[in-house]
Symmetry: C2
Subunit: 218 residues, 2 copies
């Protein structure tokens, strides 16, 4: 954590790949968008190439989807990223297409202040080895598959989100929204998080141990 500082983070990146889950990104990012109305933030959308990235997984071509325009590639991403957000989605099952994401997490984690994953995004962080020995969680319906990606992680079946050191991992899809509000509360203050939740008309789950979907993890 070379760039660790007591100032709240300003410089965010999102790791995109084919078949990412739209809400895993836009749940948290929409809150950051709102935050940027009152604070200076930077957000890089990082992808294998500068071509638009689709939410449609290669293995499920009949699904509908949307295409997002990246701002950087994994080669050109800014050096001074402080926070990296890694979404999940069906696309995480594609080990080859997600290898650039895994390599990027592995290379960049030592310089990041915080790593956040949503849903099966924790499978990508696990493959990068950065969760070894740490507590982490993931999507509940996909829990067995995610846990099978790396044995050296202390996988938590019952958690809305988990914080271990500077790594935050959330449960499935919508849990990323509760996690980002908790992260914003920790970094920018409770008043900031509460004002944003009101603006978004979002009823927060503020307890990381309150996991309404734990039964899905078996």
């Amino acid at each position: 954590m070379a760039s660790q500082s007591s100032l709240p983070p300003q410089n965010y990146g999102v790791a995109l790949f084919e078949g990412f889950q739209a809400l895993d990104v836009f749940g948290p990012v929409d809150v950051l968008n709102l935050l940027s109305a009152t604070r200076t933030l930077k957000l890089s959308l990082i992808a294998p190439t500068l071509d638009p990235v689709t939410t449609v997984p290669a293995a499920r071509p009949t699904m509908i989807g949307q295409r997002i325009v990246p701002t950087h590639t994994y080669e050109t991403a800014p050096d001074d990223l402080e926070v990296l957000l890694v979404p999940g989605g069906f696309g995480t099952r594609d080990l080859e297409r997600t290898q650039p994401v895994v390599d990027f997490i592995k290379a960049r984690y030592p310089k990041l202040r915080f790593l956040l994953t949503v849903c099966t995004g924790s499978a990508l962080a696990a493959r990068a080895g950065v969760l070894d020995g740490k507590e982490a969680t993931s999507n509940k319906a996909s829990f067995e598959w995610v846990a099978s990606q790396r044995a050296w992680v202390k996988w938590q079946r019952e958690a809305r989100w988990v914080v271990d050191g500077n790594i935050w991992t959330s449960s499935g899809i919508s849990a990323g929204i509760d996690q980002i509000f908790a992260f914003i509360e920790a970094q920018y203050g409770e008043d900031v998080a509460e004002a944003l939740a009101k603006q978004s008309e979002y009823v927060r789950n503020k307890d990381p141990k309150n996991d309404p979907f734990k039964a899905l993890a078996g």
Copy 2:
């Protein structure tokens, strides 16, 4: 409602404009993306031109944002759209830039099976005249401004979402997620909506009259 049918809708459109709110779109659309894993759906992303559409409002250029690639323009949108989703966002305040959206709603509403708005998207529907005499709601912190756009609407200050005929309007940002689950329940069945909510690990607010943010509307 020329194309009214008892079959659940398959053909969706989303009306995009500069400065739309990301979660107003991707909250509902992510659920439709998941639904399309098991049902044939079509989704058109409609915009003034085929250039990527930014979430950054022209009036707030220092905000961070994301760019989405449209599939159609307001001139080339498919004739057989059944459901049109209209998001809100800071961009709705720009009367000139949103006029193509208003014109499109006005022209297309007679052929739609359903019109759904999220947040201040109801201001655009109101300007199109299609809410005249109907009950509707909107973002709570922006309620006075939205209501001032059209006097002939029966604006509801206390509602998570409102259904009047074939028009669904939701409260601010996150309320669009509760609304889409209720819409899916009405169209495809409770089992389908519940399975999708579990998959998304989303705790639904199922009561349109349960509005945790009514106080913001004054």
